[in-house]
């Protein structure tokens, strides 16, 4: 039974499963053991995206260039956050190890939430690098006094995106297209989350969808922090609330889809 392993062992084993197994599976699934494969993906794609939207935003001239730079710097955390947890389940299936992983007595919540942690960390670090780039190419001012607050905003946003990524990953238990869904979600976020288009410019229904997506409140909070506006706490609380909801739904879906897959013997189905 899932979870018996933790009940019969100490907290050290649970912690090891959460951190070590999560990190190792994350690196192995992406074949990121070599830095030559890791850096172009994690840093390269967000870099070209940020440069493109800053360039486009500068041409369009609807908002200051910093508006696009901040939005896309924060969206960098979504790239790691969405794809890594989505891949954490689909990748097991492609590697032929999903059945073995789900046959273990490890608690599912510990095992899968542990796989979210590296995505949060990598997403956070990517966004930090992108903010440094945004300061160079996007006229973003980063005052020292506001950096701790900004770091908090990035961390909360990266967590929210990773939780949403786990929700997409759960669907990977039954389909082989979780990565495509992550791709679609990433592009959709560019439209509705206030990254390149303000929510006020969108139709009401689309803006409402945007507010339910991860990162929308995080981006607003980041812009407020950099502008020196107060009241970012409420925005971060809303982002954390969405995170909790995404994680809750993801864990329920994982449980239901695992049971259903076992019942119909389709765990290994490609």
């Amino acid at each position: 039974m899932a979870g018996t392993f933790q009940r019969n062992t100490g907290a050290a084993v649970t912690l090891r499963l959460f951190f070590m197994a999560g990190w190792r599976s994350h690196m192995a699934l992406f074949r990121w053991m070599r830095p030559s494969a890791f850096f172009p993906t994690v840093i390269g794609v967000p870099t070209v995206q940020l440069v493109w939207f800053v360039y486009l935003g500068n041409y369009v001239g609807t908002h200051p260039v910093a508006y696009y730079a901040v939005g896309n710097a924060l969206h960098a955390s979504a790239i790691a956050g969405l794809f890594a947890p989505a891949m954490s389940i689909q990748g097991e299936r492609f590697s032929g190890t999903l059945t073995a992983v789900l046959a273990t007595p490890a608690r599912r919540s510990v095992m899968f939430l542990g796989r979210v942690v590296p995505a949060v960390l990598i997403g956070f670090l990517t966004s930090v690098v992108m903010f440094a780039l945004a300061a160079v190419v996007g006229d973003v001012e980063l005052p020292w006094s506001r950096l701790p607050q900004l770091a908090g905003v990035i961390l909360v946003t990266a967590t929210s995106c990773s939780a949403f990524g786990l929700l997409i990953g759960a669907i990977g238990l039954r389909t082989r297209e979780a990565i495509l869904m992550a791709n679609l979600a990433s592009y959709f976020m560019l439209l509705v989350c206030g990254i390149n288009v303000s929510l006020e410019s969108l139709p009401d229904w689309l803006a409402a969808v945007g507010r339910l997506m991860p990162m929308t409140h995080g981006i607003q909070a980041a812009r407020d922090v950099l502008a020196g506006t107060t009241g970012t706490g409420v925005l971060l609380l809303l982002e954390l609330l969405k995170t909790a909801v995404f994680l809750g739904i993801a864990l329920i879906m994982l449980r239901c889809l695992e049971q259903s897959s076992r019942r119909h013997a389709v765990l290994d189905e490609m």
């Binding site: 486009l56 001239g61 609807t62 869904m181 592009y187 560019l190 410019s201």
Partner: protein, 265 residues
């Protein structure tokens, strides 16, 4: 003469059957279809909303065409990037490489099929823009427009194939496919004219077949002169890409076979 005719017919058969097979495979994936249907609409909406309130003079037609071309390139890149790895995953890459048909010939239909899916992207973007963003569906020269679109589709598939040739040797190179999305948009002049790029970068844009394809499509749609020359340069560059891909595929195939890594994922 008979031998030549037989070769041409067999090549045409390989290409058409491969193209049809890949299209069928792509259509079997419901989520790929959903992505291919929705992504162009997201690009079109993003482009229209970004330009709303801008002082720039680009009309809705130019914005819609740009968004459609963005979708075309994304679809081609996504499809071409995954085609070789899909063959590897299904464990048919080794038998295909071992068969007498050249690797280039069995890879080409995959790129053409994904680029054909990209045609939908352009059509969907135009329809979406006409329905929801008030774009007038008037093309200055419909015949030239169709010619320009076909040449651009071929140029995109050739570029996709050129990049995908590296996937024979490096299975992890597919992760890099997304990297090329934004630079190609930028160098092709979609949404922002190439003339606004720094002069050194403009030379790189001139070597890119899709950037001439974009020029040809825009000119034929708006009635500007110079469509023929753009179509011609785009076609010549596509032939050049095909020649380079042929050489690279042979080299990469030999390296992968000699190191025994062809089937490794």
């Amino acid at each position: 003469m008979d031998v030549l005719i037989r070769r041409v017919v067999s090549t045409a058969l390989v290409l058409s059957r491969g193209w049809l097979l890949e299209l069928r495979q792509l259509m079997r994936s419901r989520l790929y279809l959903v992505t291919a249907v929705i992504l162009p609409l997201v690009f079109a909406s993003l482009a229209h909303y970004m330009f709303a309130g801008s002082q720039r003079t680009e009309g809705p037609l130019v914005i819609a065409l740009s968004a459609g071309l963005m979708g075309m390139w994304s679809t081609t890149l996504m499809g071409s990037g995954s085609a070789i790895n899909r063959l590897r995953f299904m464990q048919v890459l080794e038998p295909l490489v071992a068969c007498p048909t050249p690797t280039f010939l069995f890879s080409l239909p995959f790129a053409l099929a994904t680029a054909s899916m990209g045609l939908y992207s352009l059509g969907a973007t135009l329809a979406w823009s006409a329905l929801f963003f008030g774009m007038p569906l008037e093309l200055a020269s419909p015949v030239l427009f169709v010619v320009a679109v076909v040449v651009t589709v071929v140029s995109l598939s050739m570029l996709g194939l050129l990049l995908a040739s590296a996937f024979i040797l490096y299975p992890t190179a597919q992760a890099l496919a997304n990297f090329f999305e934004y630079p190609i948009w930028m160098l092709s002049g979609v949404l922002v004219p190439v003339s606004s790029l720094p002069s050194s970068v403009r030379y790189a844009a001139d070597l890119l077949a899709p950037s001439w394809g974009v020029k040809a499509i825009m000119r034929s749609a708006t009635g500007e002169s110079g469509t023929f020359s753009a179509v011609l340069i785009c076609s010549l560059l596509s032939v050049l890409y095909a020649a380079i891909t042929l050489i690279l595929l042979r080299r990469f195939e030999w390296l992968a076979r000699s190191s025994g890594t062809l089937a490794l994922q």
